[in-house]
Amino acid sequence: MINIFKTSKSVALSIDEFFDKIDLGILNFKKGVNNYIDGNSIEFKHNLKAINVLEQDADSIQRKIENDFYLHSLMPNYASDILDLLENVDEIIDMSKDVVNQFDVETPHIPEAIKKDFIELVSFSAKSAENVLPAARIFFTSPDEVKDKIQKVLFYHREADVLSNNIKRKIFQEFDSLKLSEKIHLRYFALHIEQVSDATKNVAQQLSSLVIKIKM
């Protein structure tokens, strides 16, 4: 019992550190895709390396938090919900890392006409993720304020959805010069980028339910 204050403080710090890693991961995701689209291969490689390292760090911090929760029986009524939340937040950086890696491996050819749309799509996905993290942080100190922060997340997620559909429509209906394989390839990249915002939407929904549960 004596160590419980020390442990709880350490876990709180670990959760903050975890969110910091996710934050940096999202920034590297946005920068990385933009660098790829703009043809800055050196910066892109740098972003790729950085996001891989950040994802690994986030995973190890998450495992440490999980261990502490179970070992010291922290918040026994809500432990599984909170760990689930962290798992879903981790999903954001996992997806971002996968997207950047796919760009590196598959090197899709993005036509000039559609580059701007892709950059905007990445921006919406990144903004959606960037706004969910403050909501997740504030859940632990002021659960009442979570609801306000979630609105932006849902807005950017909707925008990302709409833009992704527009990109796909353009690819298949306007770009006659592209082969079907190239169209399908580009379509998947639009989908993968959009899925990052889907992951953030899941986190936002989970936060909403958790706030109600804790208040009860």
């Binding site: 019992m1 419980i4 204050f5 442990t7 709880s8 403080k9 876990v11 709180a12 959760i15 029986s73 922290l74 918040m75 026994p76 009524n77 809500y78 909170i82 859940f139 632990f140 100190t141 002021s142 009442d144 804790i214 009860m216």
Partner: protein, 598 residues
């Protein structure tokens, strides 16, 4: 005998501990915020402390309601209360021990014909209603306070969890203290008039007979907590409304405050000093106080989560409990006094003159020496004081010495055991090594046997070849004889067939020569080590002499050796003689034997 009669009270204490501890720690243990072991230890310690140091108030009020002055009566009343609690628990109806005891005391009053003190009864019944209401009020105020504090401080959820765990322990300790202070009257209150007049001096403090009675009652509650409350704790608390950890703290704290208020003499005196009416010191039902607190919070939250059926059951229980307990007590007293002839009541007296209790039917002059029993303190010359300080220290010292000696013995045994284990280990090691060596030895002897067999096979091979050469030499001798016979024949009598047979024999001779050569090589190769040893021991030997030695080693006769070497047997004998001389072998020693030893 007193202890026998006290047993029913102790049994009641055990059931109280088993059931009511869940009111204090049930939510905390059930939600796994606190481990049962921690909760049980804290609850046991503080229940005893509360019972001993603050238990007098409630007992006083119960005593006014009905002073059960015979041990048999006290036994029966406690037993009746215990049985009614047990029966209602079995019927899954919520039951209050306090109400059961009050009902049983009233039953005793009815049986003995003593009028029930209506003032006391009114006080008690009022607290049955005011207790839960007060619990609700406290809970609401505390809830609002906590919400305010949490909103302002914005504590991290994980840190808040740690604070809540500590708060649950502290509040639980306070709740257990209040439970002991308030409810000990239910357990042993009826035995107070029959309490022994003794004092135990512990050096730092003294316990009188009544406090010792409370101590025994407190211990019985503690035993009930330790032995049976876990099952109740794990399934408690949320039948009326689901509670989270913060709400659990508030409910327990509110309940503890209610129990404390209705058992604290000093708080009551304070109220009187500031001009307010005295707080009635009455045993309050722990369960009722909890129900009141939970309802208060439930109503504050809008009343949606309250299970109304459970409230209905509780209300029925509150009404039925004293009635059932009273009836059981009445009939039990009748049974005990008429069947077992147990004394269930002394002629109760109300007065004490000087040190003497005056019987009711005796006329008494009211003067300064005459007091009412309830105001009289039994601190007279009849009280026996036992100095327990010195014996306690001696006993503790003896126990310590015994423990130390036992510990030393255990350490010594452990050392011996370790030594024995080490010794056994080393024996096993040596055994293993021995087995290994034996295996190696066996393997070495097997390989030796193998080698010996190989040598034997090679020797056989050698002999075979030697014999083949000998046989071929015989053929040569025949050839020689044939040629001699052909030579003696005149020319005209020579036939072609004779020459042909001769040719055949000669051709065979060529093969023998090749065989001899390969035999020589074979012998040299086989006897490398023999030749080495021979050279070492007898360095001056020639090649032919060495060859002779190797043939002698094969146990061949002189004739056979002669045939192999293509010399006469006589030459073999001469060479053997020369060899003996060179090797400086004595007359009695056999040459072949010595050579074989090499």
């Amino acid at each position: 005998m007193f202890l026998f009669f006290l047993s029913s009270g102790l049994f009641l204490g055990w059931t109280l501990g088993a059931n009511d501890a869940s009111n204090v720690f049930g939510s905390a243990v059930g939600s796994k915020m606190i481990r049962f072991k921690q909760a049980a230890i804290i609850a046991s310690i503080f229940v005893v402390l509360g019972a001993v140091f603050q238990g007098a108030g409630g007992s006083h009020t119960l005593g006014k309601l009905g002073s059960v002055d015979a041990l048999g009566g006290a036994f029966t009343v406690a037993l009746a209360a215990g049985l009614s609690v047990f029966w209602m628990t079995k019927s899954k109806l919520p039951v209050s021990t306090s109400q059961a005891v009050v009902g049983a005391i009233i039953g005793w009053n009815l049986f003995t014909g003593i009028p029930t003190d209506m003032t006391s009864l009114t006080k008690i019944v009022t607290t049955w209603i005011s207790g839960p209401i007060l619990g609700g009020v406290f809970a609401v105020l505390l809830f609002l306070l906590m919400q305010f504090i949490l909103r302002k401080t914005k504590i991290h959820l994980i840190k808040l969890d740690a604070y809540i765990k500590y708060a649950l322990l502290i509040v639980g300790a306070f709740g257990s203290y209040s439970l002991g202070a308030n409810n000990i009257a239910n357990v042993v209150g009826v035995f107070v008039p029959s309490a022994p007049n003794i004092n135990l001096d512990f050096g730092f403090f003294t316990l009188n007979g009544i406090q010792l009675l409370f101590l025994a009652g407190g211990i019985s509650i503690a035993i009930g907590i330790i032995t049976y409350s876990k099952k109740v704790m794990m399934t408690v608390g949320n039948s009326l409304m689901k509670l989270n950890a913060e709400t659990a703290i508030i409910v327990v704290l509110a309940h503890s405050m209610v129990l404390f208020v209705f058992s604290s003499q000093s708080l009551s005196d304070l109220f009187v000093r500031i001009g307010l009416p005295a707080i009635p010191l009455v045993p309050v039902s722990s369960s009722q106080a909890i129900v009141g607190a939970i309802l208060g919070i439930g109503i504050l939250k809008g009343g949606r989560n309250i299970h109304l059926k459970v409230i209905g059951k509780i209300a029925i229980g509150w009404v039925l409990t004293p009635i059932i307990a009273g009836l059981i007590a009445f009939f039990a007293l009748f049974f005990m006094s008429n069947v077992f002839n147990l004394k269930v009541s002394e002629n109760p007296s109300k007065f004490v003159k000087g040190d003497v209790i005056v019987k009711e039917d005796t006329k008494v002059t009211l003067d300064e020496n005459t007091k009412l029993i309830e105001d009289f303190e039994f601190n007279n010359a009849d009280t026996k004081t036992f100095d327990i300080y010195k014996p306690a220290i001696i006993i503790v010292l003896i126990i310590l010495i015994v423990l130390i000696v036992y510990q030393l013995y255990v350490i010594h045994k452990l050392k011996e055991k370790n030594k024995l284990e080490e010794y056994q280990e080393s024996i096993e090691k040596y055994d293993a090594q021995q087995v290994m060596l034996e295996n190696e030895l066996r393997m070495a002897s097997e390989s030796n046997l193998k080698l010996e067999k190989e040598i034997e096979d090679r020797d056989k091979e050698q002999k075979k070849i030697a014999l083949s050469i000998i046989r071929k030499n015989e053929i040569l001798s025949k050839l020689k004889a044939s040629i001699e016979s052909l030579k003696s024949k005149p020319e005209e009598k020579l036939k072609y067939s004779d020459l042909n047979s001769l040719k055949v024999l000669i051709l065979e001779n060529l093969n023998i020569e090749n065989e001899r050569k390969s035999f020589d090589l074979y012998i040299k190769d086989l006897n490398k080590s023999f030749y080495k040893n021979l050279e070492k021991k007898h360095p001056g030997l020639t090649e032919n002499e060495k060859k002779l030695c190797s043939l002698l080693r094969l146990k061949l006769t002189s004739k056979e050796i002669a045939s192999i070497l293509n010399i006469s047997p006589k030459s073999v004998e001469v060479n053997r003689y020369r060899l003996r001389k060179k090797m400086k072998i004595k007359k009695d020693d056999k040459l072949a034997k010595i050579i074989r030893k090499l």
